[in-house]
């Protein structure tokens, strides 16, 4: 019931008692959160902990059901993101909001106060100046579509700075970056904070939080659990606060020798969605009982590689074979029956159908099994689904309600459960833990290792280098559609892999 909150003199943002409900869940339950000027403040929590909701309230996209928002000591009630921007709140979303055909400078200017006319080179100079002041590496006259994801992110930051944001919110900014790009981003964040602005860094990656933040607020299940300075916390402590229990960082991995080559691709050449070359002569070999990792920054041909293997994208040349059987000309259905399991990156758009329930989604790859003549054997489908849901610990209110209502971790468990239930000989898995919380990530990783130990050939595409290092036997690094090299995961050098991801490495180990 406070109208005017004096707050600490240096207070940039003060959220008090924020409550936000969505049907069926309380996304924020009486959360307090305050950020001082001059600090990088991490907002740490698992997926679904309420981080993005809280920041959407601060940035004006949602209005709280209860609680107050004050910025710079003034109590605010944002009715739209525009009002938040005017109050000095800048947010860089996970999905960028840039106009592809326009230049960097034009994008920075869009929506900035009182710019009715674009003033040509003068603005480019101003943007260049601004970029230089913060050590942001980006060419102001380049078009957005020419930029890498990391560069586009820098444009979003420039946009916020150009609008004189005093509070900059970054939502999971490192998910799309190479280690080197992330380091660059961190230096930009420090630079911004040093200018008496506040930087809020949403993340669920403990290493990054420890590396860049001054203070950290941990959210769990919609509640604020603790606010600590980085000095008084360590990784294990933060993880416990975040998850509510002890977490194992390394998954136990047994040593055993891989068998014969099971999944082989040779000389694959294919184009991407825009008709540009995406795969340039990719040759890889996954042996039975091993996990071969594919590392790389997003957009370097990994997705196209998995699609070509699954038969969803035509290859211009090259071969795909499973167990020595050439499947290059086979339909997706033939590849499935040849024992190929595939967990696509796009879980809810490709791997599962969001509007349908668990049963229909389990049936997706097993229609023949659940057929009785022309008809669906509903009992069999339901029994098989409930067995899978139990065995893989998928939490859902009903086997019939749309899977889009399930949490990300349960969605992925269901998808993996279905693919594994077919008993695949080779498994292609793309970004299996992206966006999942720690608990689900652990479960998914354990399942993948079980498959490896059971003799399945697993091709694991991931942007999470730590994940690859802890799960894989060998790691192939892709850059611009080529395999830069394959390194053994044991004793692999992070720096070297990072350089290969950036395309500068020369010889494979």
């Amino acid at each position: 019931m406070s109208t005017h909150d004096p707050g600490p003199a240096e207070g940039a943002v003060e959220l008090r008692g924020i409550v936000k409900r969505f049907p069926g869940i309380v996304a924020n339950d009486n959360v307090d959160f305050s950020v001082a000027r001059g600090e990088v403040h991490a907002l740490l929590g698992e997926n679904g902990a309420g981080k993005t909701t809280l920041m959407s309230i601060l940035s004006g996209a949602y209005r709280p059901d209860a609680g107050t928002v004050s910025v710079g000591g003034r109590t605010m009630s944002f009715r739209s993101p525009k009002q938040a921007i005017e109050a000095g709140i800048g947010m860089v979303h996970q999905h960028f909001r840039l106009v592809q055909p326009l230049s960097v400078a034009e994008n920075v200017l869009l929506g900035a106060p009182s710019t009715f006319r674009l003033a040509g080179n003068a603005t480019e100079d101003r943007v260049a100046e601004l970029a230089e002041a913060y050590g942001i590496r980006v060419n102001p006259s380049a078009k957005i579509w020419q930029l890498s994801v990391g560069e586009q992110q820098r444009v979003e930051i420039l946009k916020a700075l150009f609008r004189e944001a005093s509070v900059l919110i970054l939502d999971e900014p490192t998910a799309v970056l190479t280690p080197q790009e992330a380091t660059h981003l961190f230096s930009i964040m420090r630079r911004i904070a040093s200018e008496d602005r506040a930087v809020i860094f949403i993340s669920h990656k403990l290493d990054e939080v420890m590396a860049v933040a001054d203070r950290v607020t941990v959210l769990r299940a919609g509640r604020g659990v603790a606010t600590l300075t980085i000095g008084e916390s360590d990784k294990a402590n933060l993880a416990r606060l975040m998850v509510g229990r002890e977490v194992m960082f390394r998954v136990a991995r047994s040593d055993h020798d891989a068998g014969a080559p099971r999944l082989t691709v040779k000389g694959l050449i294919a184009t991407g969605d825009l008709g540009l070359p995406a795969l340039r002569d990719v040759t890889l070999e996954v042996r039975a009982g091993e996990i071969l990792g594919v590392a790389g920054v997003a957009g370097n041909g990994q997705r196209e590689l998995t699609e070509v293997i699954a038969g969803l994208r035509p290859a211009i040349s090259g071969t795909v074979a499973i167990g020595g059987r050439d499947l290059s000309a086979s339909t997706p259905a033939e590849r499935i029956s040849a024992g190929l399991g595939y967990v696509p990156e796009d879980r809810l758009g490709t791997g599962l159908i969001p509007s349908l329930g668990c049963i229909d989604n389990v049936m997706l790859k097993r229609t023949d099994e659940f057929a009785r003549g022309f008809f669906i054997n509903k009992q069999a489908a339901e029994a098989a689904t409930s067995e899978l849901v139990d065995r893989f610990d998928v939490k859902t209110s009903s086997l019939h309600s749309p899977v889009s209502l399930m949490s990300g971790g349960n969605i992925q468990k269901l998808l993996l459960a279905r693919e594994l239930s077919a008993g695949p000989g080779a498994l292609v898995v793309a970004q299996p833990t992206a966006g999942l919380d720690v608990g689900a990530t652990e479960a998914i990783r354990r399942l993948l290792l079980e498959q490896r130990d059971a003799g399945v050939a697993v091709l694991l595409v991931s942007e999470d280098l730590d994940e690859l290092l802890s799960l894989c036997d060998r790691i192939a690094v892709m850059y611009e559609g080529k395999v830069m090299g394959v390194v053994g995961a044991a004793g692999a050098d992070r720096e070297q892999i990072g350089l290969m991801m950036a395309g500068t490495a020369s010889d494979p180990a």
């Binding site: 679904g48 490709t350 008809f375």
Partner: protein, 382 residues
């Protein structure tokens, strides 16, 4: 912190999972609202509302004759609506049910003229097959173009309507022309065996039963069969269907064949049951009205039955309007209004209106201030 001047303001709140009862209530409400709106419009245009609606009622449901006419008008609508609905389940817009209806009538008439002396059950069965074949062939052209060449189906299905109508027109003016037609574009009357029997002593013919069976069969196909499952998956998410190894091309062709066959049976039933010969203008736009009916029925085969009945009533009620000297175009207006309200009502299926008191004084930071619903904005993660 309730402010002194508080006004009730509406806002839209998203319903996550609209219940069945909500859907039904909204749709019935939409039809009712359409009638009210149409009444207001009639009033503004200086028409007497009472006589209009009583004529509509007596012409459709209010008399035994009207009831029979209503059912007779609903029968072809059921088939064309089913044709539109099954195609739309795979997100295909079959605007060509009209032409497939005509080609089905042509196929059935060809059988009827070729073997007029066959025993009734055999001949009628052959005519149904002829109708299915005609309709299916007519839908195969746009279906194959769509499946194999990626040609959008809307324009080919639409344009082929005119070809089919003109083809029938040509036949009834030449080869199949009734010598006793006095110059009207009428075909030779069918033999008694080629005519669908009446149901009891009503004017309704056995086509009504075929229509109900067709709706049931389509409902079973969609709900209980593997093919229906694949249609649903392809309609919901083509990427996932490809991922699962379903053949999109084969299923597009299959669904278009079924869609055309359904409209074709509609043509057969109309010529064999109601018209008893083939002639020009056998359809006053059943194929197009079928799009409205299917849309209103949310492409559900069983809901199509009552909605088709409602539209059948409007068609026959329109005839009655003419007898009291009012334009039957009022019915077209009603049809359009109903569709308009039903589509607008969809908003209320997915959102509900909440009236909230909201402070109008500029007090900022009011606790419990209403959040605005952002369409498409969802809570993070979860």
């Amino acid at each position: 912190m309730s402010a002194t001047t508080a006004a009730l303001r509406p806002r839209l709140v998203k319903r996550l999972l609209p219940s069945r009862a909500t859907r039904l209530a909204v749709r019935i409400g939409a039809v009712a609202a359409a009638f009210v709106a149409a009444a207001l419009f009639l009033l503004l245009a200086g028409n007497p509302i009472g006589p209009v609606f009583s004529a509509l009622w007596s012409g459709s449901f209010g008399s035994a004759y009207g009831q029979a006419q209503t059912i007779l008008a609903a029968i072809p609508l059921v088939f064309t609506s089913l044709a539109v609905a099954i195609a739309f389940r795979m997100l295909l817009w079959n605007i060509g049910a009209e032409g497939q209806f005509y080609f089905g009538a042509f196929g059935a008439a060809a059988v009827a003229y070729a073997w007029p002396e066959w025993p009734g059950p055999l001949l009628l069965t052959a005519m149904v097959l002829g109708g299915m074949l005609g309709g299916a062939l007519w839908a195969l052209v746009p279906g194959a173009l769509r499946a194999y060449l990626g040609v959008n189906e809307i324009v080919p299905t639409l344009l082929l309507n005119y070809v089919a109508i003109l083809w029938v027109d040509y036949l009834v003016n030449t080869a199949w022309r009734d010598p006793e037609s006095l110059g009207f574009p009428l075909g030779v009357p069918f033999s008694a065996q080629a005519t669908l029997p009446q149901l009891g002593d009503t004017a309704v013919h056995a086509g009504a039963i075929i229509a109900v069976i067709a709706a049931l069969v389509i409902a079973v196909i969609l709900r209980k069969t593997i093919w229906g499952y694949k249609i649903k998956v392809i309609g919901e998410n083509r990427r996932a269907a490809r991922y699962a190894g379903f053949s999109i091309t084969r299923n597009i062709v299959g669904v278009m064949l079924l869609s055309g066959a359904l409209a074709g049976v509609g043509g057969m039933v109309e010529v064999s049951g109601t018209v008893h010969r083939i002639q020009a203008d056998i359809s006053p736009g059943f194929g197009y009205t079928g799009i409205i009916v299917a849309t209103l029925a949310r492409f559900s085969p069983l809901l199509i039955l009552p909605v088709a009945l409602l539209f059948g009533a409007l068609i026959t009620g329109g005839v009655e309007l003419q007898t009291i000297g009012l334009p039957s175009d009022i019915v077209l207006m009603l049809q359009g209004t109903i569709l308009f309200f039903a589509l607008a009502g969809e908003l209320l299926v997915h959102y509900r209106i909440e009236w909230r008191r909201q402070a109008q004084t500029g007090s900022e930071g009011e606790p419990g201030a209403a959040g605005r619903a952002h369409p498409g904005a969802m809570p993070s993660g979860t």
